[in-house]
């Protein structure tokens, strides 16, 4: 095994490991712009030059493989001068407009200037070369070519990941300028990754531009709810709002990337929220408190059971619910209410787009979980079509809907079905045609206000985490379901989603052997694997 001694620290690595990778493993950060662990090596920025014992020239750590007993230093005077020199070169034509630049706070140029630069400008202001600014290049991206360091990460991403090749460098020498071809804007669904991988403020996100300074943002781990792929994400939040999502590396799922469609699914946590429990009194919607809501729900369920039997009640679960929520929904329907009529709204295709990279045809995060938990009617019960038909005919007397959708019905259709039912309960985080028509609306938590697990379409069980308390008067679904169950007489002692998961792992074969506490960063394949 090749061995490297980097700044006195030794590391054995497998053949084909570069010095920069070895440095990352040792916790020795070698400065870089063009190097990206998931793109090809280009070696153009020259920021990662290091001194290798026995080699006269400084070599780029990104493009130099560790050889046997290689002794490398990043802290010699020659290396320090070279790095400082490269940084100065990169900044000579840069507009130094940090105060109005979105990248500020997460900019490699800023960080390295503080770390390696700290010189006075030696370049005359009047000689700065001016390039294109504030150009909409398509997708979610705005280009400022003056801030660009020409590292070609974006070009390589578009060549190697999306295969769409929209950006290129035009011109030569110091007039080199990154741009799209004339009238050919970005035409892929992964453009936000460009803003992520751009080490400087050249490519920024239209959606995030001028919204929030990055140093205010806190970071939490989550799973994208945009489709069944289950990309691992970081959620950046501040002041009870989600400001953006970034991909979180998971080699089993999304690698380092995520799609634009999923990226913007975060808005569900901010917009169109159901704020308070409310009850439809005639034509009027009346805000009530949670106690009153549970009292009413209990009363109505009891009445229907007494007058028509439990078979007149139907429950429609949501593939946007977590495994734990689905499990509890099922128990509520079968064991507590005693109805066999349970279904879930399958993958709702709001946008037909899907591809071979990350975007699934299934636009919900947990259809697989619903399938594996056998969310469906018990013997003699109604399936989704059956429930909807029966509801239209007035045979369903009480309908409980989790989430915002009813099958593939449009707003009109969903509203008509709910209205046709005598009494309806909707547990959902966001307003919809369903919530508008529902008798009793219970606001639930968004994906950042609760924790749990989703099962992606490949069968990987992955955790998402609560970042802050439910906004407004919303409550976590688990708590709502458990409270409702207890009101209806269940002997439930679920304090949190972890307790539900443990119970589920004991009784549901698909989740057998999984432990909520050891699912870990990258999730676990279900089925005991």
């Amino acid at each position: 095994m090749p061995k490297v001694t980097l700044n006195g620290k030794e590391l054995e690595v497998e053949p084909g490991t570069t010095i920069i990778e070895a440095g990352d493993r040792l916790g020795i950060h070698i400065p870089r712009f063009c190097y990206h662990p998931h793109l090809s090596i280009d070696g153009n920025c020259r920021m990662c030059l290091v001194k290798i014992e026995g080699v006269q020239k400084l070599l780029p750590a990104c493009a130099t493989y560790v050889d046997h007993d290689m002794v490398v230093r990043t802290d010699t005077d020659a290396v320090k001068k070279a790095v400082k020199g490269v940084l100065e070169f990169l900044l000579v034509h840069h507009p130094i407009d940090c105060p109005i630049c979105d990248q500020s706070g997460e900019c490699y140029l800023q960080d390295y200037y503080v770390q390696f630069g700290l010189y006075k400008s030696r370049f005359p202001l009047k000689n700065k070369i001016h390039k294109v600014k504030v150009k909409d290049v398509g997708g979610d991206i705005v280009l400022d070519a003056e801030r660009c360091v020409l590292c070609t990460r974006c070009m390589r991403f578009l060549r190697e990941v999306t295969g769409t090749d929209e950006l290129n460098i035009f011109g030569r020498g110091s007039h080199s300028e990154i741009d799209i071809y004339k009238d050919q804007p970005l035409r892929n669904r992964y453009t936000c990754n460009l803003a992520d991988i751009c080490p400087v403020g050249a490519l920024t996100s239209k959606d995030f531009r001028f919204q929030c300074r990055v140093w205010y943002l806190k970071e939490g781990k989550s799973i994208c709810t945009g489709c069944a792929t289950g990309c691992n994400v970081f959620v950046h939040y501040h002041g009870g709002k989600v400001w953006r999502m970034k991909p979180r590396f998971n080699e089993h799922v999304n690698g380092p990337w995520m799609c634009d469609i999923g990226r913007f699914s975060y808005t569900a946590a901010n917009d169109d929220r159901i704020e308070k429990p409310r009850s439809l009194e005639g034509e009027k919607s009346v805000v009530i408190d949670w106690d009153a809501a549970f009292y009413t729900a209990n009363l109505k369920i009891g009445e229907v059971k007494r007058d028509f039997g439990a078979g007149a009640i139907a429950v429609i679960a949501s593939p946007r619910s977590s495994n734990e929520e689905l499990y509890l929904t099922k128990k509520l329907a079968f064991e507590v209410i005693g109805t066999p009529n349970l279904a879930f709204t399958p993958a709702v295709v709001a946008d037909d787009y899907s591809d071979e990279i990350l975007v699934s045809k299934d636009k919900t995060p947990n259809s697989r979980g619903a399938v594996e938990l056998r969310i469906g009617p018990q013997d003699g019960g109604l399936d989704l079509a059956g429930i909807l038909d029966a509801a239209r005919q007035g045979k369903v007397k009480l309908l409980i809907v989790m989430g915002c959708c009813l099958g593939d019905l449009d707003d009109d259709g969903a509203g008509r079905v709910v209205s046709a039912v005598e009494y309806s309960i909707n547990i959902a985080p966001n307003e919809s045609a369903v919530s508008q028509a529902t008798s009793l609306v219970l606001p639930s938590a968004s994906f950042v206000e609760r924790g749990g697990t989703f099962t992606n379409e490949a069968g990987r069980v992955q955790r998402f985490y609560r970042m802050f308390l439910p906004r407004f008067r919303a409550r976590e679904d688990i708590r709502i379901l458990a409270d409702l169950g207890r009101r209806l007489g269940a002997d439930w002692d679920y304090k949190n989603e972890e307790a539900v998961f443990d119970d589920m792992a004991r009784s549901e074969p698909f989740f057998a052997g999984l432990d909520y506490r050891v699912i870990g960063e990258n999730g676990s394949e279900a089925g005991g694997r």
Partner: protein, 423 residues
């Protein structure tokens, strides 16, 4: 004196195959095709043939890097991108003796086992490209190219690929990118072209003059060729003399001919009887020499010992009366224009130096500018993928180092110390 290349260049129809063959052309190819390929490479090694493109890497050694066994096709690329300022020797070969090159290509390709050769010729060389095309056509017709060359069973196709005007495409990996249809930018090395070159296959890149020397080496043997020059720099050289001399032109002389005699005897001395101030001995990229430093043999080793480089042997003669600030400013404008823009230090450093020099020349220089240039040079040196960065650094450091008083005067007095000659 024995001439390797230009012996028949005075004949106008030497560029046609009949005349070329009449004067012994293609006999070396016939001989080579009967030789073992290792034997050919051995002769080239014995010849001490140094690459004529500027770097002077021993050609035989470079050939030896080509893998013997590979599951990929192999390629030969001829570097005819001749774009180093002060260099115009390859053009002469292509215009006056294109079959020398083609014969050399056939032998080289046979030796390294390539069946396709690209001649990458600079875009501005319109006429040489046409002449080459004609000559290649002739060679196909006579059976020196194409299938089963001279009944040997060896196949070779030769293509002329015209460049689009980038200096950097003379750098071998930039050239390879360009042949592949990419923007001409050097590649990271390793891997070297002999491992991964054109279209991912092993590739030998040689300069026009290097290849054109091959027929002589095969015909007369490596030892005979080496004996023409010096022990480590064999054969003759095409010295291209330009600037203020009475008889500018290309002179084929033994490697190691005295630099001073090339200027004063062969090139007829300095124009208008002026006094010599400086000489750039190997194209604009190499360090300048002062008038009193040029009494040295013009071979790779001797010029290096004298503190410069023989480079492409493009000798630029500078008399008193030429402002060195202006000259360096012109040179730097060239490198700033031609930097491909890939590596940060070269992309920004060349332009920065151009700006400073332009300011000094315009009379807007200020104290500290020279130290700044030298520091920029220091930051550019050894920090980039290819040698263009150093190509800009070497003239800058040597001009300032050797003619400091002219630069200081320019900054202080805002005019030339010695600049009555317009350039």
């Amino acid at each position: 004196m024995e001439l390797v290349l230009t012996k028949y260049f005075h004949l106008d129809d030497y560029r046609f195959i009949d005349t070329y063959v009449k004067h012994g052309g293609y006999s070396a190819l016939e001989k080579a095709l009967r030789m073992d390929t290792d034997q050919i490479i051995e002769e080239v090694k014995k010849a001490s043939l140094r690459g004529r493109g500027g770097a002077g890497f021993p050609a035989g050694v470079k050939w030896g890097f080509m893998p013997k066994v590979t599951d990929k096709p192999k390629f030969v690329v001829v570097n005819a991108d001749e774009s180093e300022p002060g260099t115009f020797k390859d053009r002469l070969i292509m215009e006056r003796g294109p079959h020398l090159l083609i014969e050399g290509i056939a032998i080289t390709s046979y030796a390294v086992g390539a069946h396709v050769c690209y001649i990458y010729i600079r875009g501005e060389f319109v006429r040489p490209a046409q002449l080459l095309e004609t000559a290649i056509q002739e060679a196909y017709e006579k059976g020196y190219l194409g299938k089963d060359i001279l009944g040997s069973g060896f196949d070779l196709d030769v293509y002329v690929h015209r460049g689009a005007g980038a200096y950097i495409c003379g750098e071998e990996t930039g050239m390879i990118e360009s042949i592949e249809g990419e923007k001409g930018q050097p590649r990271l090395k390793p891997p070297f072209p002999a491992q991964i070159g054109v279209f991912g296959a092993p590739t030998l890149v040689n300069n026009v003059e290097t290849i054109a020397d091959i027929p002589y080496i095969i015909e007369h043997g490596g030892d005979a060729f080496r004996a023409l020059g010096t022990e480590k720099d064999g054969g003759t050289r095409l010295y291209g003399v330009s600037g203020f001399v009475n008889k500018p032109g290309v002179y084929e002389l033994p490697a190691g001919t005295n630099l001073k005699s090339i200027i004063y005897e062969h090139s007829g001395g300095i124009l208008d009887g002026k006094k010599l101030k400086a000489v750039i001995p190997g194209g604009s990229s190499v360090p300048v020499m002062k008038a009193d430093e040029i009494d040295v043999p013009a071979d790779m080793e001797s010029i290096a010992e004298a503190g410069s480089m023989l480079g492409t042997a493009g000798i630029i003669v500078i008399p008193e009366g030429v402002c060195m600030v202006r000259l360096l400013s012109i040179i730097m404008t060239f490198y700033a224009h031609e930097s491909c823009g890939k590596c940060t230090p070269c992309r920004e450093g060349t332009e920065w130096m151009r700006i400073i020099l332009e300011n000094i020349e315009r009379g807007e220089g200020k104290e500290g500018d020279l130290e700044l240039i030298l520091d920029v040079c220091d930051n550019m040196e050894g920090t980039t993928i290819c040698a263009l960065s150093e190509a800009a650094v070497m003239p800058a450091e040597s001009f300032i180092g050797k003619f400091r008083e002219e630069f200081d005067y320019h900054i202080r007095e805002k005019k030339c110390l010695d600049g009555e000659l317009k350039i």
